[in-house]
Amino acid sequence: MSELDYVGKRILRKDGPDKITGRAKYTMDMRLPGMLVGRILRSPCPHARILNIDTSRAEKLPGVKAVITANDTLGIKHAFVETPRYPPDQYALAANRVRYVGEEVAAVAAIDPYVAEEALHLIQVDYEEMPAVFDPIEAMRQDAPEIHPTHPKVKEPFKNIGGKTYSGWGDVETGFAQSDYMREDRFESHLRTHGYLETQVALASFEPAGKLNIWTSSQGPFIKREKLARTLGLPLSAVRVQMAYVGGAFGGKVDLYAHEFCAALLSMKAGLPVKIAATREEVFAAYRHGQPLIVEIKTGVKKDGTLLAQQIRVINNCGAYRGTGVVVIFLAWGFVMLPYRLPNLKYEGYAVYTNNPPRTAQRGHGAPQLRFALDSQLDMIAEELGMDPVEIRLKNARQPGEQLPNGDNVHNCGLVECIERAAEHTGFREKHLQNRSVGTTLDPLRRGIGIAVSSYHSGSLIYPNSSSAVVKMNDDGTLTLMTGAMDIGQGAETILSQIVAEEVQVPVDKIEVIAADTETTPVDIGSWISGNTYVTGNAAREAASVVRKKLLDLAAEELEASPEDLVLDNMRVYVAGSPGRALKYRDLFTASIRKRRGDPIIGEGHWRTMQDVPFHPSLATTKGRWSENYAFDAQVAEVEVNTETGMVRLVRAVTAHDCGFPINPLLVEGQIDGQISMALGHAFLEEVIMKDGRTLNPSWLDYHMPCIHNMAVSESIDVITETYDVGRSYRTKEVGEGLVSAILAAIANAIFNAIGVRLYSTPFTPEKILRGLGRIK
C-alpha cells in the first residue's frame, strides 16, 4: 500500500469554522423577503371521521395570507414505501378521517407567529370519534377497530396488518429435531425519539413562473423532491430542493413530512415564501419516532453451542400509516441473517396499524431491537450449556468470505477479530467468571460484564439507488466537488474531500464542496442508508480519478515523460527523481484549455451499492440482494448495579469494529461515542410515554436524553480489514448507525452477570431491576 496523505488521517471537519463561530446557516436560520410563518392544525382525536372543516373565520383574520385543507390538495397519497405491493396510504393533509393524535388537518400562513396561532384557533373542525386501538396485539384481533383493511396478501385472520415479511431457509423443524437444547423467549422494545436538536423545518418559495424552491432540514434532497413533485402535481424539474446545515437527523428526517408539503402549498397559494418550523412539543407529540418491536424467538442449538435453527416472529407497532413499518420488518430479517451462521430459519414479521403516530427510521433501524433480543437469548443459551459468552459467539460468528443465504457475501468480515480483541481488551473471561462467583455480600454495588455483536449493511438499493459526483478543476489548480450528499453532522463533506484530495493531491482546504442541491448536484443515495462513505465516496473517487488521469496524460506530454514516472504532490506534477521537472496544476489547467479544446479538467464518477442487481430486495419475501458491504462489531459493556436502588451505571463501553478502513479516525470516534451515548439513553433513560394515543412527556424535562452527567466511558478498537489504494475502488463500511445495537444487548447481559436478573424489555429501569431481584412486586 502506498503512503497516504489525506485518507486515514485525522483531518479537521471542513464545516468546523462555520459552526464554531455561529456563521453556519441552518434551515431554521434562513429567511426570505416577505416570508410568512406557517403553522399546522393537528387532530386532537386518535381516530375520527372529519365531518366538516370551516376555515372561513381564519381566512378573514387580518394578517392571514393562506389557509389550506385537504380540499386544496390534489388528494395524492404518499408513503415512504411506494411499490405495487405497498401502495402509498397517507394524504399529506387528512381527508375525511384522522387516525392519530397530531395528524395534520389544516395549515395556515400568516404575517407573524401570533396571527398564525390565532388563525389555527379559528378553524372549526367537526369530528365524529371512532373506536381506537393502540396496542399491536389488540389491533390484530378480529374484534379490533379497523384502521386500514389488512393487506390483501396476508391470509391469516389478523386485523390491521399493513404488511408482512416472510422468509427463511433450510427447514426449521428438522433443525429443531436435531437440536440438543431449545428455548423460546419474547422480548419487547419501547418508543424513543431521535433527539435531533434542530426541530423539523422547511422554507418554501414558489416563484410565479412555476418553480418551487424549498430548503428543508433533511437527510437527502432527492427523495424529498420526488415526493413533493408528485403530491403537489408539479413536474420534477419544477421542484428544487436545497440544503442548509442540518442540526441532526438520526433517521428522523428522511421521509416527506406534512410541514414540507404544507409550506410548499401555502407558498403556492399565498405567492410568498412560507416557513414552517415544528416546536419541540410538536416533534415529541406528533412527529415520527422509532419503532417498538415485539420479538419472539425459538432457537435450537447443539450441545457445543452451534446454532441450528431459529423461528422468529416480529410484530411492529407501526402506527396509523405504513411509514417505514414494512421496512423495519424486512430489515429485522436481515439482522437475524447476520452476524451468526444459521442453517435453518423461519421468519415472519408483521407491521400492525395502530392509532399512534406513524414511525420512521431511527439510527440502527431495527438492529438495536433485534440484537437486544437475539444476543440476550444467546447468552441465556450459553448459561444453560455452561459456555462462556465469548466462546459461543466465536463458534457461530461468520467468517471472511462466507456467502449469506440471500446471495450476499461478507467479504473481509472482521467479526471474529472484533470479538477476540474486545474480549481481550476488557479481560472479559476472567471478569465474567469472577462476577458470577460473587455470592451474597453486604455491598449493594455489583459489577457485571457483557458482550454482544452486530452487523450492519453499508448502502442498499432504495430510491434514488445510486450516487454520482463531479470534480472540476479551477484556474488556480484548486478543485470543486459537486455531490448530492448531505452532511448531517457526520462529516460527509469532509470525508468526500479527503478522498478527492488523495486521488488528485489537492489539499482538503483547497477543495470547495457544492452539496445536496437537486438542481446543480448529481443524484445521491442520501445520508440515510449508511452508504455515504462507500457509495458516494466511491463516486467521488471515480470522479477524482478521471481528473487525476487527465492531469497525468497532459503532464506527460508537457514534461516529455511517461505517465508512470510522474508524481502528483500538493497541486503540482513532477518527474520522479527530478523534482525540478515539474508543472503546477494551474499551468496544466491552462495547457488543457489550450491543447484539449477547452477542457477545464472535469471528472465525473458514479457508484451503486451493487453493480449488477436491477432492483432492491423484496420487502415481503426478502428475495434479491441486499448489500455488497457489511460492517461488523463486537461491544463489551461493564455495568455497576445498585441492588438497593435498582440503578444501573454503564461504567465502560468497549467497541471493536470493522468499518473496513477508517477514512477519518477522528470522525469515526465521534460516531462511536455518539452511538454509545444514544444506546445508553435507549437502555436507561429515554422513553416516549403514550396513553390512548397521546404523548404524556413531550419535553426534554420529562424525556431524559443523556446529559453530560450521563457520559459513558467509550473506548474503541479499529479492526481494519480493507485497504485504501489510490485509483482503486474500496469497500469501506458503515460506522454511523450499526454501533447502537450490540451494546444494548451487552448491557442487558452485563446486568445478568452482575445480579442474575434477565431483562426481556427495554428500558432497563430500576423498577424492573428491583422486581427481578424480588425487592418489589
Partner: protein
C-alpha cells in the same frame, strides 16, 4: 395566547455594538438576536429553557436567551457566539473544540462554547465536577459529550487562561 402590545424603545449592547430597537414587551432576547439583529448563531431547539442551545453570555454569565425578555436586557453586556472570535481569529476554546472533534452537527455548539468560555473565565482550574455542572444544561445528541470534555481538558492542560 400572546397578543400584540405596544412597542418600547430599548438599547441593547451586543458583541460590543449598540443597537436601538423597538420591541414588544413579550419578545425574548433570543427572538431579537435571531430575527432583528440576524445573529442566528444563537440557536433555538426547545424554546422552553431545557436544552441550552440558546445560551448567550450576559455580563459574562451564561443565560438562556429563550427565557429572557429583551426589555430586561437594557444596560447589560450581551455576548453571542458571533462576538467570540475577534477579527476572525478563533479563541483557544474554539480552536481546541475543532481540533478534538467536539463539533458534529453543530447545533448545540454555540451554547456549549459560550458556557465553556464563561466557566474558564470564572474558574481557572475547574474540577471535572465543575465542568459537568457548567454544561449540565446543554443537550448534545451527536458527541455523547466525550469529545467536548476531552477538548476542555486539553484547554486546561495547555494552561491557557481565558482572559481578554
Amino acid at each position: 395566547m400572546k397578543k400584540k402590545q405596544g412597542r418600547q424603545l430599548i438599547e441593547l449592547a451586543v458583541n460590543g455594538e449598540a443597537y436601538e430597537l423597538a420591541e414588544e414587551p413579550q419578545v425574548t432576547l433570543l427572538e431579537v438576536l435571531r430575527n432583528d439583529l440576524e445573529l442566528t448563531g444563537t440557536k433555538e431547539s426547545c424554546g422552553t429553557g431545557e436544552c441550552g442551545a440558546c445560551t448567550v453570555l450576559i455580563d459574562g454569565e451564561p443565560v438562556l436567551s429563550c427565557l429572557t425578555l429583551a426589555l430586561d436586557c437594557r444596560d447589560l453586556d450581551i455576548l453571542t457566539i458571533e462576538g467570540l472570535a475577534k477579527g476572525g481569529d478563533l479563541t483557544h476554546v474554539q480552536e481546541i473544540f475543532l481540533e478534538r472533534g467536539a463539533v458534529q452537527c453543530g447545533f448545540c455548539t454555540p451554547g456549549v462554547v459560550l458556557a465553556t468560555t464563561a466557566l474558564l473565565k470564572a474558574t481557572s482550574r475547574p474540577t471535572d465536577y465543575e465542568i459537568k455542572k457548567a454544561l449540565e444544561g446543554h443537550l448534545c445528541r451527536c458527541t455523547g459529550y466525550n469529545k467536548i470534555v476531552e477538548a476542555i481538558d486539553k484547554v486546561l492542560t495547555d494552561g491557557y487562561l481565558v482572559n481578554e
